[in-house]
Amino acid sequence: MSTLLQVQNLSVSVGQHCLVDDISFHIDAGEVFALVGESGSGKSVTSLAIMRLLSDGLHIASGDVHLVGQSLFTLTEAQMNGVRGRRIAMVFQEPQSSLNPVHTIGRQIGEVLTLHRKRSGAELKQDIIALLEEVGIPDAEQRASWYPHQLSGGQKQRVMIAMALACEPELLIADEPTTALDVTIQKQILNLLNELRKKRQLGILLITHDMGVVAEMADRIAVMRHGQLLEQAPRDVFFSSPKHEYSRQLIHSLPRQDAFRKAIAQEETPLLEMNNVCVWFAQRKGILQRIAGYTKAVDGISLTIGHGETLALVGESGSGKSTAGRAILRLIPTTYGEVLFNGLRIDQLDESEFIDLRKRIQVIFQDPFSSMNPRMTVREIIEEGMISLNVGGNDGKWNKSEREQEIRRILQRVGLEAEHLDRFPHEFSGGQRQRIAIARAIAVKPQLIICDEPTSALDVSIRGQVLQLLQELQQEMGLSYLFITHDLSIIPHIAHRVAVMKDGKIVEQGSTQAVMQNPQHEYTQQLLSAVPMIPEHV
């Protein structure tokens, strides 16, 4: 096989700071080369450097990139424009924002064709439709005149791929192409990419943080961290005998799929019970804004969570899983149905009666960046709930120094130092912030914590640590979790039982092992089969 792209000693820096540090690799024609790394490792910067599309302030410090023997860094800007889109094409992470909202998709695909192939008129139209059909857009002839916002996320990514492949490039750079997509869509897009590369002998530079995707797609793998290439190896070699410690850590960050947490024996009254709970939002129409119908975000779900138990609520985006969590917390009012806590009905209490339950039910949000007020110190953040909910020891009231002591104790428990108390959230990394969020939740001594995708914004290596912490706390404090997630791979590790949600309804519920190994509902089967799996390793 011939070498398609050769990257030699590439360094990219911003000011004095080095983002990409002297990396070299090559990609052969028709192969998928995966560049793996966590956020900030410099993998996206590498891809932009190859395309010479670095944003202002970043510059190439040294090195060279050759495309079939031709140095890209010596080309003029006009010559480079002849390479972009024609010989090297790119697909980005966010299909939502990567398409121009004011042009039809047909026009956007057509732009590449006119630019590099001088297509026009009927021929152009034919080409566009053929491309759209090739990437699996149904009813292509009509959709060509649609605007991006009329398409779903998966379809937009298909359009991006069609656009990238329009001029039959030799190399496709796919920068986290499926990260923003649901797992079933991800499966489809990966399949499409695989198909196309076989058909077209396409070299693909796949940039991703997801080891599952890597395992599924890549021929060769390179691991990047802090701007440096740690190791390069063919897939099988990489997964069976990773050389670098960090690679091993990445591979092991995916929890094993064969060890399940056993369901635990339950008392008669569960801690939380939801009976046929609905959350509907009114849709208004017409001159008088009458209620014309409802968006049924949560449509009659029933579930229970026992003492010390973790229930995973799984679903794709828009399935209503987060809404269900917020309904329990009464951040959103329920329309029908009942919520019971320790056998007591709580969905009809008014805010002053509910305040007592706020101590019992707490929440951890997905995004550690937006879940803490940037203007408050860690102390203030943790203290706020303790003060407003009057949390105290046995006598129910703590004085200032007792509270301070407790805050320090909790902070140490979640793995932070007491000296962090006077810092602001922005001084911490994502994983540390999520620890602060956990500290804030356990500070009021709850019985149930709603974990709304607490790990999906974190890098894989951090994810395991946070999940571990949650489990330890569960054992120490007898906590129950409602663990809302879209990530099926972590479920065996964390949940006793699983409920699968789709379109506001629970389609399947049962012990983790039963659901994961023997799914009954078609949708669950579909979900599970879409999860990219790492080959059996060590």
Binding site: M51, L53, D56, E77, A78, M80, N81, G82, V83, R84, G85, R86, A89, M90, F92, E94, S97, S98, L99, N100, P101, V102, H103, E111, V112, L115, H116, Y147, H149, M160, M163, K285, G286, I287, L288, Q289
Partner: protein, 325 residues
């Protein structure tokens, strides 16, 4: 779409009613017709008869909101509120305090206003967009910095100085155009050039800066990177991708003032002696002719609300993502 427009027009009614009540309160309750008469008649020691006569001539001698003496409908119709304020809803502006018919004055004077305001508006936007695109083309360069400094300097000069300076240099010193005045027909152009130029120049600083920010914001978006990755040359990226997206907020933000162009500009019109609605209003203010001011306030509100409606409609025209609902 139609349902939406009807609903929006429905919203306009309470707003106009609010404007109406507010102006009524300002002009008749806070400031009673008696006081108006005293100020108009000029003398502090005017006789009661003179005041009564002045009020009667202008219909200000009726009760404010409820006429308890008149029977039936007269209870509400035979009042100042009904005759002077509510009548505005029918665009019946009545007579000015000096006895002129306001409605026909407005019809006559809105054209000169439009002759100045419309070209200023269109040329102004075109110039601002052109300048800002030019600056964006050279972003993060010395030229960009210099242009932005110039914009801040231009922004810091009061509009009055643009008018004074323009008149002084172009008309008085260099005799290029007449200082002020107005003629109908083709001759008008000679009188219009300077006000339009000054109107455009005085807006360049703020406009260019704002539009530059909007374009720069667009140029940082993902779809621009996609276009570059497609191999689209920089200039095409600017005109085909950034410009149409940047124009959306620009166009929709300026649409709101289009109806109000009829009202003209107080400053420009009075300085250049253009007999439009702007100078009409200014004269009314200086002569304390409340009937005219009241009418212009109402007219202005109607035009503003019309502008809001046009803004919403323009969104659906220029932005494919927006559908009225």
């Amino acid at each position: 779409m139609l349902a939406y427009i009807i609903r929006r027009l429905g919203y306009a009614i309470p707003i106009l009613l609010g404007v109406n009540l507010l102006t009524f309160a300002l002009f008749f309750v806070v400031n009673t017709p008696d006081q108006m008469a005293r100020v108009q008649l000029g003398d502090k020691h005017v006789s009661e008869e003179a005041i009564e006569q002045w009020k009667a001539q202008r219909g200000y001698d009726k009760p404010l909101m409820f006429n308890t003496e008149a029977g039936g409908l007269g209870l509400v119709t035979d009042t100042i509120f009904y005759e002077k304020s509510l009548s505005l809803f029918a665009f019946d502006f009545g007579k000015s305090d000096e006895g002129r018919n306001i409605g026909s004055d407005i019809q006559q004077r809105m054209w000169p206003s439009l002759m100045v305001a419309l070209p200023t508006f269109i040329i102004g936007i075109a110039v601002n967009i052109a300048f800002s695109l030019f600056v964006v083309m050279f972003r993060a360069s010395v030229f960009d910095t210099a242009a932005m400094v110039l914009c801040v300097v231009l922004m810091s000069i009061s509009g009055v100085f643009y008018v004074i300076g323009g008149q002084f240099f172009f008309a008085k010193l260099w005799h290029l155009v007449p200082i002020s005045g107005y003629l109908t027909g083709p001759d008008a152009i000679r009188f219009l050039i300077l006000p339009v130029i000054i109107g455009v120049i005085s807006g360049i600083g703020g406009g260019t800066r704002l539009y530059r920010t909007l374009f720069l914001e667009e140029s940082g978006k993902d779809y621009v990177r996609t276009a570059r990755a497609k191999g689209v040359p920089e200039l095409t990226v600017l005109f085909r991708h950034i410009l149409p997206n940047g124009l959306i907020p620009i166009l929709t933000s300026v649409v709101v003032v289009i109806p109000s162009l009829f009202m003209g500009s107080l400053l420009v019109e009075s300085f250049f002696g253009i007999p439009g609605l702007g100078s009409y209003t200014l004269d009314a203010i200086q002569a304390q002719d409340f009937a005219i001011v009241r009418s212009m306030v109402f007219l202005g509100s109607v035009l503003y609300i019309l502008g809001l409606l046009l803004t919403d409609i323009s969104y659906t025209l220029v932005d494919p993502r927006v559908r009225l609902s």
